[in-house]
């Protein structure tokens, strides 16, 4: 196919030919084309099918407001659905395919729905498909789903990368049309930091689409000069292909920069960058969007907005047809006719709804006054139009101008409501703009070039003065005001055929009237009932005409009828861009323990624990499954000695004269009298009396404590302690700092742990049971002088220590401990064996401290000191939290020892039904105990501490199973605690 509709050079580079395909057909365009302009140049008017009726559709606009011309861009994993051909920049090798048809674009089998349209009017689906009930999910809904939707995802992982960033400026100028350029020049000249962003790949806005002059230059040439000046300013950042899509609080704007979408080979650099722009002030110069007039069969390929026709003619050197007609209610439409005629296109007629003289002379065109188009002919391409007076005018394209709507979207993102302006019969920005924003140019209702240039400059200067900059005295650009009069016409009432409003979702004037009839009269009801304005274009060309028609139905004015709220984003933003780098393994950072490298080299399997990666177990040759490794690690630890990296536990240094008194406030049990050199286990309550964390705190000095928290709650505990110290007790001398990452800490557990440590801890430190008993702590040195901290605490229930060294030595310390332990057959153990041993010992962990359990439930009620206040104490006394028959943490074992308990089982007394009313508790943690040779569990059951030995049902209907379990003490191993004191 050749470029039959290419008529002039425009602003594209005709010296560079670009090959592309549409539905597999090879075509050519030029550098500077959009896919839409290139398709038009090739005479391809039919480009897609509508959502509901599968009507043939063409290109309707020349910008991001396009409702019709949606395609799949690229193929394979890069296939991008719903791409507007009107903004897709042409590149060599571009492939595009049309959407939403079964069979070919030309012969869509689903077009049959159009014949059914009388039965598919607004909201028809709310009224049927209800019988029989099962048919909805099996029959009706799948059919509706398949025919709905638009483009297709590839179902493959998005192969491109995305990035994000942050920018800061004094003045953000949104839109690089006349008002925006004028504002940016004022900003740049004043010395302020300016960002000028435009969604187009070529800045200039309508200046590139019109033939109007600025400062006696063609608009596009003036644009080049202005951009050259701006480019030379170090304080100005020009961002093309960048859509400001959302206005957020306090001057923060969301922007999407398309970096590689226009490149034949996108390469490996991020495809798009999502910017958050922090602006002190902003000038919104987003221009205006032309609106159509509704008339019968106004949706045919070849019918296009008049301003878009000018864009194609002047910027791209393309005409949508060979014989044109123009239908307008305003002066602006005349310029389309004039520009077409000037390029030698045959303009047959100008149909003006107004009964008035010609606005300008258009050679060869008939001026038909006071008339309107009421119908058209031509299913896949326009053939003729029929006027209200009955005359038929053959033409293959029709330009329609219904006036312009200021693009007020961003002014509404913080719930600002646009206001109706009688003078231009359109909504303009209301009084409540996002803080720091002013609006200029066509977006503010200044629809002529001269006014836009002037307002852009003045708006920027006012903002700059506020910020303390001195506006430049250089005169602003000058242009002449073009004729702009119009008389609103929304709909041609003589139309007998369906007149489309929302071209994508197939909403017609009749649908609006039906919505009115059924009392869906508020604007939001109308939209939701008819789906008007809910398509990918969000009603940019359809909302206002529909509102006008509803106003007519209700007999109210348009502003009384209302407006719709525009919400972010202004144009759709890929999820990939909003996610940025956060995907796959980069979703969140990893925290690695100090001995990570050692573990990796020694057979560790790792597990995600929050952001940490921890060794879960260490596989030895010959082990067939994880249980082999875990059983060995737990057994060996209990028999000789095991070593586990426990660095992930939160460590908080607490210093200050009031540190002890402060701990008394944040822990439920007392800490004030803890001697230096000793450790205490503590529990923390939320102010509502529920237990939320536990751990040990060591008193390293009179005014110095080291607290450990659970891995999961390290940040939360720190935050709450800062709150307590700053807000509740602001005059306590207490200082907190985290040292979690600073110390590599290892549990050395088992009967041989002291023997092992004696080889590592420098000799001058006596770690005998007498000198360093259970719950002792102290600063020591290891390996010949390396500072270390030693704690005699035990999670496993064995004689155990935790030794901490500066993290830089952590990896080597693991090696040293293992070497020193070789004579004792020391094993490294992971989180799984750690869990087994803590369950054997009956220690509560995350599964038990689930944010709903109290000290009373955990069997630690007596730890809540009666002698002092603490956070959570008062509310922990509430009656339901102190019930005698509350659930209590106890141990469980299967009556049939060969069975494995199931965590998450619920307990039901013997002989009772497994229903919620009989639910007495749940199994929180289970493990297979290699020491006992059977499965054990911890769980909560009503009055559990008084039911030792009772057998109950543990049911797990999710597994379709249950078993008999016996209630036992939670301390399965060494209940008297003799080992850990050895």
């Amino acid at each position: 196919m050749s470029q039959t509709n290419r008529i002039a050079k425009g602003l594209i580079d005709t010296s560079r030919t670009v090959d592309f395909t549409f539905n597999g057909r090879a075509m050519q365009g030029h550098a500077g084309d959009t896919l839409a302009s290139a398709l038009l140049a090739n005479g391809q008017l039919l480009v897609g099918r509508s959502f509901k009726y599968h009507r043939p559709r063409g290109i309707f606009t020349a910008g991001s407001e396009e409702p019709n011309a949606l395609v799949h861009l690229r193929d394979g994993a890069r296939q991008e659905p719903n791409t507007r051909a009107t903004v897709a920049e042409l590149y060599d090798g571009l492939t595009a395919t049309s959407q939403n048809h079964r069979g070919s674009l030309e012969h869509d089998l689903m077009a049959v729905t159009d014949l059914m349209s009388p039965f598919l009017s607004a909201g028809f689906y709310y009224k049927t498909f209800m019988w029989p009930r099962a048919f909805w999910e099996k029959l009706y809904e799948p059919a509706i789903r398949a025919s709905a939707g638009l483009g297709r995802l590839s179902m493959e992982d998005d192969p491109d990368t995305y990035d994000k960033g942050y920018l800061h400026c004094d003045l953000l100028v949104i839109g690089a049309g006349p008002a925006g350029l004028s504002a940016a020049l004022a900003g740049g000249r004043s010395g302020a930091r300016v960002i000028l962003a435009d969604e187009d790949f070529r800045m200039g806005g309508r200046l590139n689409a019109e033939t109007l002059a600025v400062d006696d230059m063609p608009g596009s040439a003036w644009t080049e000069a202005a951009l050259a000046e701006l480019r030379a300013m170090p304080n100005v950042r020009l961002m093309t292909r960048t859509t400001i899509y959302g206005a957020y609080d306090h001057g923060v704007y969301g922007a999407l920069e398309r970096v590689t979408d226009h490149l034949p080979d996108p390469g490996v650099k991020p495809r798009q960058v999502l910017w958050r722009i922090y602006s002190r002030r902003a000038v919104l110069a987003a221009g205006a969007t032309e609106r159509p007039i509704a008339f019968g069969n106004n949706d045919r390929p070849g019918i296009m907005l008049a301003g878009a026709v000018r864009t194609y003619v002047n910027r791209y050197g393309v005409t949508p047809g060979q014989t044109m007609a123009v239908f307008t209610n305003n002066d602006d439409g005349w310029r389309t006719a004039a520009d077409l005629a000037a390029k030698g296109v045959d303009v047959r007629a100008i149909v003006d709804t107004r009964d008035r003289a010609a606005v300008c002379d258009v050679p060869g065109a008939r001026h038909i006054r006071g008339a309107a188009v009421m119908d058209t002919v031509g299913r896949k391409a326009l053939k003729s139009i029929t006027l209200t007076d009955g005359q038929v005018i053959p033409c293959d394209a029709l330009a329609v101008s219904g006036g312009w709507n200021p693009t007020v979207h961003l002014t509404c993102h913080q719930r600002g409501k646009p206001e109706w302006n009688e003078a231009i019969d359109a909504f303009v920005p209301g009084a409540h703009l996002p803080a720091g924003m002013v609006v200029a140019g066509a977006a503010n209702g200044q629809l002529t070039l001269a006014a836009a240039l002037d307002e852009g400059r003045k708006a920027a200067n006012a903002q700059l003065k506020d910020l303390g900059f001195t506006p430049s005295r250089k005169p602003g650009p000058k242009a002449e005001d073009e004729p702009r009069e119009g008389a609103p016409v929304w709909y041609v009432p003589e139309s007998r055929k369906r007149a489309w409003l929302d071209l994508q979702n197939d909403v017609t004037v009749k649908d609006i009237k039906q919505a009115h009839r059924e009392n869906f009269r508020s604007v939001e009801h109308m939209k939701r009932y008819t789906t008007l304005g809910m398509a990918t274009d969000q009603g940019k060309t359809s909302n206002i005409p529909a509102l006008a028609i509803m106003a007519k139905c209700t007999g109210k004015s348009i502003p009384e009828t209302g407006t719709t709220i525009f919400r972010p984003p202004y144009t759709p933003v890929p999820i990939g861009a909003l996610a940025g780098r956060a995907r796959g393994r980069d979703f969140r950072p990893y925290r690695l323990t100090p001995s990570h490298e050692w573990a990796k080299a020694n057979g560790a399997t790792f597990v995600e624990v929050g952001n940490w990666l921890r060794a879960q177990w260490f596989v030895r040759p010959g082990e067939k499954g994880w249980r082999d490794s875990v059983d060995r690690e737990a057994l060996q630890t209990r028999q000789t000695v095991g070593i586990c990296d426990v660095t992930t536990l939160g460590k908080i240094e607490i210093q200050g004269r009031d540190a002890a008194a402060f701990l008394n406030k944040v822990y439920a049990n007392g800490f004030a009298k803890l001697p230096v050199g000793r450790i205490r286990y503590g529990i923390m309550l939320r102010e509502d009396g529920i237990c939320y964390d536990d751990g040990t705190t060591a008193r390293m000095g009179e005014n110095h404590f080291v607290m450990t928290t659970t891995t999961a709650n390290a940040v939360l505990v720190f935050r709450r302690m800062e709150f307590a110290r700053q807000c509740l007790w602001p005059d306590m001398d207490v200082h907190l700092i985290s040292t979690t990452d600073g110390w590599a800490q290892f549990a050395v557990a088992g009967p041989k742990s002291r023997d092992l440590l004696r080889k590592v801890v420098d000799k001058e430190h006596d770690i005998s049971n007498d000198a360093f008993p259970f719950m002792a702590c102290g600063e020591v040195t290891v390996c010949g002088g390396t500072p270390a901290r030693l704690f005699r605490i035990s999670f496993s229930g064995e004689l155990a220590f935790e030794v901490a060294v500066p993290a830089r030595y952590g990896n080597d310390m693991m090696r040293v401990l293992m070497e020193a332990g070789r004579e004792f057959d020391a094993v490294p153990y992971g989180t799984e064996a750690l869990g087994v041993m803590r369950i054997e010992k009956g220690h509560a962990a995350g599964n038990e401290l689930d944010g709903r359990t109290t000290a009373h439930n955990l069997g630690l009620g007596r730890m809540v000191s009666a002698a002092k206040d603490c956070i959570g104490k008062t509310l922990s006394q509430r009656p339901e939290l102190q019930r005698d028959d509350a659930v209590k943490l106890v141990g469980f074992r299967p009556v049939d020892r060969s069975r494995n308990l199931i965590a998450g089982s619920h307990f039901i007394s013997q002989g009772r039904d497994a229903v919620m009313a009989n639910d007495e508790g749940w199994m929180s943690s289970v493990a297979w105990s290699p020491s006992l040779g059977h499965s054990i569990g911890l769980g909560f059951i009503r009055s559990g501490d008084a039911r030792m030995g009772e057998v109950v049902r543990a049911v797990s209907p999710v597994h379709d199973t249950e078993m008999q379990v016996e209630i036992t003490s939670p301390h399965f191993i060494d209940p008297q605690g003799e080992r850990l004191r050895a």
């Binding site: 209800m130 909805w136 984003p569």
Partner: protein, 416 residues
């Protein structure tokens, strides 16, 4: 007017000119038996069940704006009953059962689609918690199914199984969960309530309560005073503001929750999927848009809009579990104001003022509760006693220490 395929055929052949208003726009009367404040899903359902279950038809629903303009008009349309605690689970299971027969009951197709809901599991502790929850669901008569990673890989091959920061270990399904066309719920209840004589009064804002000697005798509105034997607040999202007119402080904060929809796409998702290691859940609407959401913005707000960090956080979660959606475009985002309660669970209760009743605190889970909320509130209004499945949804539960805290985060609303 009864809706049916035949009616559509008939109207279609006569130019669709015979359709009647789905509900009337009556002038408010001076007095009603019950005035329901709030024409959202819950308020309309309450009025409907008052009329249908208890024959109380002298009822007005007062709506400040247009009906369905609150959270029933902006949510992510999910229905489910996958709760853990006895204070919640039977209530939500009743709700799911009511959803299952709702369309035939209302003669209105709300496109209730039991496409399943899946909660992904990424750690052993999470698995244990979900097994516990699944079992609790069974004990309350609901359905649950635990799927391991292999099964999920077969069913949902597009999830990121091989390169994930938090690998998928399994998931808890509720096959009866799914989605509903949300606006249609408000419209269906409104139409059915109207047909039974309930007055739905739009553009009527309550500006005060008429309280004498500790008894509420009616409301002041922008359309004049209206007397009532019982006044039922049902304005989740605005509970604080309306209750303040009666001098009440509530265990509720208002927070903004954002939700999102993409451009229309051919079918890609079978049901609802929620990410267990981030803030993201998603389903696909009948029109083809991916409807998704995540966490609340986290600060008190009545502004019905949110900010960027949460938008990004949610999309990050989406890309983390299904990197095939990278090129799907976010079309529209919106923010709804949530009644975030102190334990994350709602209230359906009498107040300390005779004749004044309260329904609110639904957090971000109110939509799925719509039928049961209406059902139980109507029961409370008609019988002056709580419905058994809502018996724990009382305002005095904090005094007793009987919180219904599904997340276990305590009295901090933005964490629920």
């Amino acid at each position: 007017m009864r809706y049916s395929a035949l009616r559509i055929l008939k109207e279609g052949l006569t130019g669709n000119k015979g359709w009647k208003p789905a509900w009337r726009d009556p002038e408010p009367k001076r007095e009603y038996d019950v005035v329901v404040i709030g024409g959202g899903g819950h308020g309309l359902a309450t009025a409907y069940y008052l009329a249908r279950e208890y024959g109380i038809t002298n009822v007005a629903v007062l709506e400040k704006g247009w009906i369905g303009s609150g959270n029933v008009g902006r949510n992510t349309t999910i229905i489910r009953s996958n709760y853990l605690l006895p204070g919640n689970e039977p209530f939500y299971e009743l709700s799911l059962k009511l959803w299952e027969g709702l369309e035939q009951d209302l003669n209105y197709n709300a496109m209730i689609s039991q496409r399943s809901i899946l909660n992904l599991v990424h750690s052993d502790a999470q698995r244990d918690a979900f097994i516990r929850r699944g079992n609790a669901m069974f004990l309350a008569g609901a359905d649950a199914e635990y799927a391991d990673a292999d099964q999920l890989r077969r069913e949902l091959p597009f999830l990121d199984f091989d390169n994930a920061r938090f690998p998928i270990r399994g998931g808890l399904y509720q096959r009866r969960g799914g989605t509903v066309r949300h606006d249609a719920v408000a419209w269906g209840y409104a139409r059915a309530a109207d047909a039974r004589g309930v007055d739905i009064i739009q553009n009527c804002e309550v500006t005060g309560f008429d309280i004498e000697d500790g008894t509420c005798r009616g409301v002041e509105t922008t359309r004049g005073p209206i007397r009532a034997r019982k006044v039922a607040m049902c304005v989740a999202g605005s509970s604080g503001r309306v209750a303040a007119l009666a001098g009440m402080r509530l265990p509720i904060e208002s927070h903004v929750l954002q939700a999102f929809v993409t451009e229309g796409l051919k079918p890609v998702l079978p049901g609802v999927i929620t990410f267990g290691a981030g803030h993201f859940y998603v389903s696909q609407s009948d029109k083809g848009g991916l409807v998704f959401g995540g966490d609340i913005d986290g600060y008190n707000s009545y502004a019905q809009r949110g900010n960027l960090p949460v938008v990004e956080d949610v999309c990050e979660g989406g890309m983390a579990i299904m990197p095939m959606i990278g090129r799907a475009r976010l079309l529209r985002s919106w923010g709804g104001v949530m009644d975030m309660s102190m334990d994350g669970s709602p209230f359906i209760d009498r107040t300390h003022i005779d004749g004044l009743y309260f329904n609110g605190g639904w957090c971000y889970g109110g939509f799925k509760a719509t039928p049961a909320s209406g059902w139980c509130y109507a029961h409370l209004l008609a019988r002056d006693a709580p419905h058994p499945v809502a018996a724990e949804m009382r305002l005095d539960r904090f005094r007793r220490g009987h919180m219904i805290d599904e997340k276990g985060v305590g009295a901090q609303p933005n964490l629920h």
